[in-house]
Symmetry: C2
Subunit: 466 residues, 2 copies
């Protein structure tokens, strides 16, 4: 007897006529007539369930098979035979059926075989991967994550696990979560009344990281091509559907790279990820296109087949000013681009992804490299139709004197960043990188609109995330 | 002109006679005689640097080339020619040399071309990947991490990113880090004087996760084969060289798996990882064997070539009692095995890795499945020569009534774990998994003894980790 996953059974790993077992959870049961029933069994290994044909030749047909409900766990054993069912090359003529786990009170089982609202499913996150949609989202997210690591591996990058608990603030701004083991009621105090963090776990005040960028930069100046892929945190109360307090970020960093190379790598990288989904998760993407977002597959194909446009920020401002469209927010050199501007550029004007480069220096972070014009920095944002800004990056300021000047302009104390200044004293080279919010990517690929639907546990019991 | 990484140049990506550029940092400079110098350039892409031959035909030979010191960043351009050097198939006859970044005050540059103590290098973690040792460690760690994802991908597992910020304690014990945005000096209070966490960021008291296991279990009961690979945290002040406050853990979880299957998967998994290192990082492992741990390569080869032994805990106790060796800690049924016992079993008695199974129930966690004897649980530890316990796992208690009984015995409130109980009400199946501490694995493979040498930033400036 060969135990197969549903994916293996449906894809012909064993030839028709073979004796196999599959194990999983019942999606639906249909009784055709006296003595004949069909159940669909899913084990999460692929989008489609496999059908098992149950007859009254089974000793437990009346006592168990006809009592099966959605969610029951079964092992179906029998002969693999060709099936007429849609998406199902094979089905199982069961000669044995073992019910491994029943469903308590089937009436109240949350995952009934019907459509559920996304709001409801967030409240039963520990069960929602049993639905078609979240099974698909889980597999697509896995596919994207594996493709991230594979892309970097194939291109000579090394994965660096930068610190999660940190004393530095990579952005010079932004709310952070404090990490502490001090007693909140009676925290030790200094004479001036402030908290004595020298008595905290690490002997100083610590936070959850907002980005691994500064840390990974140093590794780029030893290993040339590196990346982080780990969780990052922002303690900003946001009630939009586009922000998470806890999210995974991909941050490659490349020595000797200029802005043009960063734009090329972004394009190559995103196309690689989307090609992986199109090739490896066609089953799930077909469902997404059918039920969630009609354009889901076509837009990925357009994305991978189109060259990205490059536009300078200054030119983008000119284009927006001449646009035959009125905007809510002002368009003026020196102001940041708003979502409406970004969407017009990528969706209306170009109709393809666009890399906007060389933004005014005062609207971007301190670590970005000042251009020779003294007014702009070597920053870039990748904008794409249907998603807006998907990647943000920059060449870093590798000249120590310029970095110090910018730190002071931004109100930062260079002494607090001594290690970050340090590797610019020792064989400093041009370098740069970019950041990709992983959940935003998942949400886009899956045609969803709420970023909480891209994480494993949105406000689930036992979990604080949202 | 073709720009190559050092790895590409040394491995013959371009044939001898080709014109190439390589970019990297100078390791050493040697002046042979007037008008001839050799520099070794490393870019982190592989263990060996490439040699560039510099002559006074270079216009900047006297003014720059002969002033190069360790750590200077250069671009060397010239002809790739066969080399007599050890480990170097090719070298570059430079026709052009660009110095991209000098070293400020070469006398005080921390990474001199000499041996450094590991203690010293931890203080300059942002520069230590420029050493032979930490370049090797970084590449080996990357190789192991990629192999983790690849193993699971090839075997049908999906990666789940379980929550980092959580309200539950997966172990029912262990110190946790609090995550909060409340003001430590004036935290809001309830009438009884305790902190009012309803006014904290998530509206309740939250911590950093100690394990993703409970969360990933639920996904196994939908997707069959899943795993986590992410950071976990323990707020235990440990002054050993074997513990970290922040570390990455790999936790696969498999539906329908019993203890025997878990032992087989552990064996298969570990051997896969070690094979990957032996095949893909032979350059770095040769250095480790030469300079750090003479047995480093041989012991990995023995590991992958030997079948793991299986021993029941009760039999292990008998063996230890009869052992021709005295132990510091008592050997008695019901007591946990100490490191000295584990080492005797795997190193002295068996001489190969051992999976010890079925431990007394009261020394193991509440979620482990009670065996029919009522005295032991279906737990396993994988022990290996030279490292001791490397994997710990168990079949989980899938029977709701037994789980509730054990929770109460362990002083846990089942109501606090309602979601964890929940998926045992809906198609519960036997399932289990194990945990592998990623940094312990890295330390072992690299022949090091201090776990802080397996992380990117041990007590580096700007980082609280240690």
């Amino acid at each position: 007897m060969t135990v197969l996953s549903v994916q293996e059974a449906l894809s012909g790993k064993v030839a028709a006529g073979g004796e196999v077992s599959v194990r999983g959870w019942v999606r639906t049961r249909r009784d055709a007539k006296n003595g004949l029933s069909f159940i669909h069994i899913s084990d999460g290994s692929c989008f489609h369930p496999i059908q098992a044909v149950l007859t009254d030749a089974l000793p437990n047909y009346e006592s168990e098979a006809r009592r099966l409900t959605a969610g029951c766990a079964v092992i179906a054993t029998g002969t693999l035979v060709p099936s007429q069912g849609k998406g199902q090359a094979f089905e199982i003529q069961a000669t044995q059926l073992e019910v491994v786990g029943w469903v308590d009170d089937p009436e109240t089982y949350p995952i009934q075989p019907k459509a559920h609202s996304l709001e409801f499913l967030r409240e039963v996150a520990h069960l929602r991967p049993r639905t078609n949609l979240f099974g698909a989202v889980t597999r697509i997210r896995d596919c994207l994550a594996k493709a991230v690591h594979r892309y970097f591996h194939e291109n000579g990058y090394f994965w660096i696990s930068t610190p999660i608990i940190t004393t530095s603030d990579a952005e010079g701004a932004g709310q952070m979560f404090r990490v502490s083991t001090l007693d909140m009621v009676n925290a030790p105090r200094l004479p001036d009344g402030s908290v004595d963090y020298s008595r905290d776990f690490f002997g100083k005040e610590t936070f959850l990281t907002v980005s691994g960028q500064l840390n990974v930069e140093a590794y780029a100046l030893s290993m040339s091509k590196v990346y982080t892929f780990g969780p990052t945190f922002r303690a900003e109360q946001s009630h939009t559907t586009r922000h998470l307090a806890e999210f995974w970020m991909v941050e490659p960093e490349i020595a000797f790279a200029d802005l043009a190379e960063l734009a090329s790598v972004s394009e190559d990288f995103l196309k690689y990820l989307f090609r992986a989904v199109l090739n490896e998760r066609a089953d799930d993407m077909a469902f997404i296109a059918e039920r969630v977002e009609k354009d889901a597959v076509d837009r990925l194909e357009r994305f991978v087949n189109a060259p990205f446009e490059r536009i300078e920020y200054s030119d983008a401002i000119e284009l927006l000013r001449k646009a035959d469209q009125s905007f809510e927010f002002p368009v003026e050199w020196g102001l940041d681009l708003q979502t409406e501007h970004e969407r017009w550029l990528t969706e209306q004007h170009v109709g393809r992804p666009v890399v906007v480069t060389n933004y005014p220096e005062h609207i971007k972070a301190f670590y970005m490299r000042l251009n020779d014009d003294g007014k702009t920095v070597a920053a870039m944002d990748v904008l794409a139709p249907g998603i807006g800004e998907i990647i943000g990056g920059s060449q870093r300021e590798e000249r120590l004197d310029q970095l110090d000047t910018r730190m002071v302009q931004f109100g930062l104390d260079p002494a607090h960043y001594s290690w970050y200044r340090d590797f610019r004293r020792y064989g400093s080279v041009p370098h740069g990188g970019f950041g990709l919010g992983f959940e935003r990517l998942v949400v886009y690929v899956c045609g969803l609109s709420n970023i909480r639907d891209a994480i494993a546990y949105p406000r689930a019991p036992g979990n604080a995330e949202y």
